[in-house]
C-alpha cells in the first residue's frame, strides 16, 4: 500500500518511470475489463489507452480514500461505458418480458477458459453485454445501472434477463458439443 502511494506520488510529479511501473502493474487486469466491454481486441486496446491517458492526466486528483486499483478500475469502466454509450444510443434497448429463471443446475463455468467466457460475453448484443457486465460481474444494482445509463429499471432487468438466457444457451450448447466430442 505504501509502495503504491509512493508510486502515485511519483506519477503526480510526472515521473515517466513511475508511470510505466503503474501501467505495468495494472494494465493486464484493466485490459481484461476492456475486453469484456468491447467487441474486439483493437477496440479494447483503444479503451485501455484512453483510460490510462485519463488516469495519468487526473492522477493529481487521486486522494488516499480508496486504493489506487479501485480508482483506476473505476476510470477504465467509465471510459469503456463512454465508448459504448454511442452504440447504446444507436441501438436503443427495449423492454423485454422478464422470463422465469432458467434451470441453473449443472452450469459450471470453470469448465471454460477465460477466452471462451470472454467470447461468450462479447457475442452478446451491445446493450445486453454492458448490462450483464455491470450487474453480474461489477455488482451494480439495476437501479444504479438505470441511473448510470439513463434507462429505466425495467429495461435494465429485461436486458439482463436476455443476456443471461443467451449465455446459458451458449454454455449449454458448448457443453453438448464437448460431450459429443468426448464421445
Amino acid at each position: 500500500m505504501n509502495e503504491e502511494l509512493s508510486l502515485v506520488e511519483q506519477c503526480k510529479k510526472g515521473s515517466a518511470t513511475a508511470q510505466e511501473k503503474l501501467y505495468a502493474q495494472f494494465s493486464r487486469q484493466m485490459y481484461t475489463i476492456c475486453l469484456r466491454y468491447t467487441k474486439s481486441q483493437q477496440e479494447a486496446e483503444d479503451v485501455l489507452q484512453e483510460g490510462f491517458i485519463k488516469i495519468f492526466d487526473k492522477i493529481d486528483q487521486f486522494k488516499a480514500d480508496a486504493t489506487i486499483g479501485a480508482w483506476i478500475k473505476r476510470i477504465i469502466i467509465n471510459t469503456a461505458l463512454n465508448s459504448q454509450r454511442s452504440k447504446l444510443y444507436m441501438f436503443p434497448m427495449k423492454d423485454v418480458e422478464e422470463t422465469d429463471d432458467v434451470e441453473e443446475e449443472g452450469l459450471v463455468l470453470s469448465n471454460f477458459g477465460l477466452q471462451e467466457l470472454l467470447d461468450m460475453i462479447r457475442s452478446l448484443p451491445e446493450g445486453c453485454q454492458v448490462i450483464f457486465n455491470l450487474y453480474a460481474i461489477e455488482g451494480f444494482s439495476h437501479k444504479e445501472i438505470s441511473e448510470q445509463l439513463s434507462i429505466s429499471v425495467g429495461t435494465s432487468k429485461s436486458q439482463y434477463a436476455r443476456a443471461k438466457q443467451l449465455l446459458k444457451d451458449m454454455i449449454n450448447k458448448e457443453e453438448r458439443r464437448s460431450y459429443e466430442r468426448a464421445k
Binding site: E45, D57, F140, E144
Partner: protein
Amino acid sequence: MSERSSFENQWQEEFEGAEMTPAPEVWSNIRAEVASAQANKKSKQVVYWRWLTAASVVLFMTAGAATFYYYDSMSNEFEQLVQKEEELKENIALLEDELDQSTNNQSAENSVVQSADEPASNTAHMAGVVDSNNDQKDESLTIPLERYTDYSDSNLNDQNQQVINNDQRDLANASNRSGQSANQGMVESTGNKIQGTAQNGIATTALNEKPESQEKLVSKSIGNRDAEDSGLIIQSQKEVIIAQKEVTSTSNANDRSINIDAEALTTNDMQVGKQDDQAMATATLNDEPEDNKSLRPNSSGERNVAVSDEDFSIERLELIQAGDLAVLPDPITPQKVPDYLEIIKMQNGGDDNLKGMWAGLSLGGGSYNSNIGQGSSASSIESLSISGVQESVTNVAQVNQSTVETPAFSFTLGADFGKQIGKRTFLQGGLEYNRYGSQANSNVSVADASNSSQSFFRVNNSASLDDATLTVTSPYTVSNNFQYVSIPMKMGYQVIDRKVGLSVSSGVATNLFIKNTVSDKSGDRADVEITNSNDSPFKPVNFNALLAMELSYRWNEQYQLSLVPDYRISMDGITKTDAFFQSNPTAFFLGFRFKYILR
C-alpha cells in the same frame, strides 16, 4: 431477478483477478500522449505567465506614464508660478528704479531757483564736485542753486526766461576741476539744459538752507548712472511754478540723499531732449552770492567746486512728460504669490476634516476555491462526513466516484467607507455579506434512521451512525455554500488621481461565520446546514488577506463609479484544528462600487 444467484457469482469469480496482456504499442501510445500533454501544459503555463507579465508591464508602464505626466504637469505649474514670482520681483525692482529715477528727476526739477521779487540771480551755483585727486565716489557734484521762491505771478514768464538764459550761459562756462569725467555724475539744474558726461560717478548736490532768507538752496542728489542714462536736461520755456518745496538734505560724508517733498510741481513746456555730445551745458557758475553758502569746503568736508559745462554733457535725455513728477506713485506692494502647496490647498477647498472622505456601496461576483487538503481522515468533499462512518469509508471508496470541489458562483455585497490620510494614501473599511460557493459530484448517499436520504457529505449530527446506511447512487451534483459577514480594513495608494483614477490597496478582513449549507442540486436529498456550534468543523472567526485594485471614473465632484477586482486568501484556514479536513480557501471577485464623495 433482483437477487444475485450462483450464476452471477460464478461469472464474477471467473473474472476476478483475470489478466490478459495488451499489445506493447499501447504503452508507447500512452507514453507519447502523456508527454505531449505535459509539454502542452507547461507551454500553456508559460504563455499564461508571459501574458500576465506583459499585462503587468503594460499596466505599470501606463501607471508610470500617467504618474510622470501628472507630476510633470504639476512641476510645470510650479515652475510657472516660480517664474511669475520672479517676474513680479523684477517688475518691482524696475518700478523701484523708476521711482527712484522719477524722484531724482523731481528733485532736479525742483532745483529751479527763482525769486519772484528779485531778478534772476543768474545763478546756478554749481558746487564743485570732486577734486581731481579725490577718488571718493561718494563725493558729490553739488549744485547749490541759489534760490527759489514760489512763483505765483503769472507774469514771470519773461523773468524766467531770462533766468534760464543766464543759467544756460553759466552752465556752459562751468568746468569740472576733478578731471575725472568718467567718474563724474550728472549735474542737473532745473530750468537749465545740462549736458554732462558722466558714467559711473555720483553727483550729489548739497542742499543749503538759509531759513533767514527763506531761500533755499536746492541741491540735488543724483545717483549713479551709466553714461548713456546720465544726461538730463530740463528746459523750461515757460513759467515754472513751484508751489512749495522744501528740500532737505542729510549731510553724510558717505551717503547723501535728498528727500524732496513736493506738493505740487508743474512745469509748462518742460522738455528734456536728447543732446549731442557737445556741451550744451548752460550751467552758470557765478560768483558766489553773498547770501549763498560758501562754496569752499566747510568743516564737514563738503565743498562746492565750480564745474564746467562739459561735465554736464548728457548723451541721452529722457523725456519727462508733464505731470510725471506731479504725483509720486504709491509704492508697489507685490501681491502674494501663493506657493505650490497653497495653490493645491485653495483648489481643494472645503473643510480639512472632511477632506478625501467617501462612502459607497459595492456588489461583486466571483469564484471561490475551497482548497480542501489532507485531514485526519478522508479528504476532498467526502471528508465532510462525520468520522463515525470510518468503517464504511473503505467500501464506499471503492465505488465512490466523488470528484474534487470546483469553484461555483460566489458574490459579495457591502457598504464601504474611506478617508484620505495622505496626499495619495487612504484608509478603507466596510461591512460585507459574502456568499462563497463550490460544487462537486458524488454517487454515494447516506440514509439516516428516519430513512430520509441525505447526501453523503453530511449526516445529521443527531442521527445515529449505526442506523445510517450507505448506498451507491447515480452521480449527482452537490453544492457547498458558505455565508460570512466580513469586516475588511485596507490601506491603499492612489496611483492616478484624475477623472479616471487607479488605486491599489491591501489589508485584512475579519470573517464571521454564519453557516454552511450542503445541498443536492437535484433536490432528491435534504439539505444539510452547519451553523456555529461545538460540533461544527468551521471556525467562528477567520481572517483573509486582501489585495485589490480599483479603476474609477469620477462622474462629478461627488459621485464616482469603480471597477474593483480583488483577490482574497485565507490566512489561517476556515476549519478548526481538530477538524477532519483542512480548508484554506482563495477567492477572486470582480466588483462594482458606487461612491459618494463627502465634501
